[in-house]
C-alpha cells in the first residue's frame, strides 16, 4: 500500500496522499509540511463523511475534486477504502488520474490488500454519527437519511 502512495506522492505538486479505511485506519506515506497526523485524520474523516452522504444520494464509487484558493483535494472513494490526495493548484490532473488509476487497479488486484479490506465491516455511513459532528450538520444528516 505504501508503495502505491509513494508513487502518487512522487508526482510534481502532490503534497501527500493517504488511504483511509472504513474502520478508521489511516495509512499515509509522509506528512506534508504544516500538517500533523491528527489534522490528516480529521481531513480523512471529513472526506469519508462526505462520501457517506454522497452514498445516500447515489450508492456507488465516488470521485471528489475540491479546489481551494491555495490547494486541491482529490478523493477516490471505493466500497471499503478511500484515497485522499492533497495537492498544489499546479498539479497535473491528468498525470495524477493516470497514476491513481494504476494504483487503484493494483490495489484491487492485490490479494493481501483485498484480504485486509474484506474483514472490514464498517461502511462510510459508520462515520455519520451524532458524536462525530456539530448539531447543525447532524440535523442535515437526519434529513438526508
Amino acid at each position: 500500500m505504501k508503495e502505491k502512495l509513494e508513487e502518487i506522492n512522487g508526482i510534481a505538486g502532490v503534497r501527500t496522499s493517504f488511504l483511509f479505511f472504513n474502520d478508521g485506519e489511516l495509512v499515509y506515506h509522509s506528512l506534508p509540511k504544516g500538517l500533523d497526523a491528527d489534522e490528516c485524520l480529521e481531513i480523512a474523516r471529513d472526506v469519508v463523511q462526505m462520501g457517506g452522504i454522497a452514498d445516500r444520494l447515489s450508492p456507488s464509487n465516488h470521485e471528489f475534486e475540491i479546489k481551494f484558493e491555495t490547494g486541491r483535494v482529490y478523493a477516490w472513494l471505493h466500497l471499503h477504502f478511500n484515497l485522499v490526495v492533497l495537492c498544489d493548484p499546479t498539479v497535473s490532473l491528468s498525470m495524477l488520474r493516470l497514476t491513481v488509476n494504476v494504483a487503484l487497479a493494483d490495489l484491487e488486484a492485490d490479494k493481501k490488500f483485498q484480504k485486509r479490506i474484506s474483514k472490514i465491516e464498517a461502511t462510510r455511513r459508520s462515520f455519520l454519527t451524532r458524536s462525530n459532528m456539530d448539531p447543525e450538520s447532524w440535523s442535515l444528516v437526519e434529513i438526508v437519511s
Binding site: D46, V47, M50, E63, E136, V144
Partner: protein, 221 residues
C-alpha cells in the same frame, strides 16, 4: 431564568412584541454567521441594539433579517446605553418592510443566476439552498429536501476541510458518482449546486460561470 430557542421556531417579531408589551427589562441575543446580534428592552420599548460593530436602528434591521440561529432572552439585564428612541411598533413595521424588499431582490437575483447557469452548455439543472438545507431556488430539476440537505452538509464539510488543510476558501468542487456529476460552489451566504453532464470537466463549468459573471451577481440590489 433565560429563554433559549432558535429563530426558525420562534419569530423575532413575537419576541419583540412580548418583551415590549410586558415592559420587560431584558436582552435578546442571537448568533448568526459568527456575528452576535443583541436587542435590549426597557420601559416597554426597544432602547438599544448591536449587530457586530453596528448599533441602533440599523442593528435591529439587520437582526430582523436573521431567519435561523440559536437565541436567548435574559431577564433583568439593563441596557448599557440608549441608541433607539423610535416606538417599537414603528421600528418593527419598518424593519419587516425592509426584510420583504430584500427578500424580493434576492429572489430576483437567484432567478437570474439560475437561468444563466442553466444556459451553460452541459448543465442540466441548478439548485440554490442555504447552509441549513432550505431550498431557495430550483431550475431544471426537482432536487427535493434530501438533496438540498446533502448539499448543505457537503458545503459545511468542504469548508472544514479547507480550514484543516490550510488551503483557504473554496473556489469550486465536483462530485462524480455513477451517471451523475454535481458542481458545488458558494454564492455569498448560500450554496449553488449545478447538475452537469458527467463528461463535462469542472474547468468548463468554471469558465461558463466566469462568462455569466457569477461572482458579480449579488443577492441584494
Amino acid at each position: 431564568m433565560a429563554l433559549v430557542g432558535n429563530l426558525k421556531d420562534l419569530k423575532l417579531a413575537n419576541i419583540v412584541q412580548l418583551n415590549c408589551m410586558e415592559k420587560n427589562e431584558s436582552m435578546f441575543a442571537v448568533e448568526h454567521h459568527k456575528q452576535v446580534g443583541r436587542i435590549y428592552f426597557a420601559e416597554g420599548n426597544i432602547v438599544h441594539a448591536t449587530y457586530g460593530s453596528i448599533e441602533g436602528e440599523e442593528a435591529v434591521f439587520r437582526i430582523l433579517q436573521i431567519k435561523e440561529g440559536p437565541f436567548r432572552v435574559e431577564s433583568n439585564v439593563p441596557p448599557p446605553k440608549r441608541t433607539i428612541n423610535a416606538a417599537w411598533g414603528n421600528l418593527l413595521m419598518e424593519g419587516l418592510r425592509m426584510v420583504d424588499e430584500l427578500r424580493e431582490a434576492k429572489n430576483a437575483a437567484m432567478a437570474k443566476l439560475s437561468r444563466e447557469i442553466k444556459n451553460i452548455n452541459g448543465v442540466n439543472g441548478v439548485l440554490v439552498c442555504n447552509l441549513f438545507g432550505e431550498i431557495l431556488m430550483e431550475e431544471g430539476i426537482a432536487s427535493g429536501k434530501r438533496t438540498s440537505a446533502a448539499m448543505a452538509f457537503l458545503m459545511r464539510k468542504i469548508e472544514k476541510v479547507g480550514r484543516a488543510s490550510k488551503m483557504g476558501n473554496l473556489k469550486s468542487a465536483a462530485f462524480t458518482a455513477k451517471n451523475e456529476k454535481r458542481v458545488l460552489c458558494r454564492w455569498h451566504e448560500d450554496v449553488v449546486e449545478i447538475n452537469i453532464d458527467p463528461k463535462l470537466i469542472l474547468e468548463a463549468v468554471e469558465q461558463g460561470l466566469d462568462k455569466i459573471g457569477f461572482s458579480d451577481i449579488k443577492p441584494q440590489a
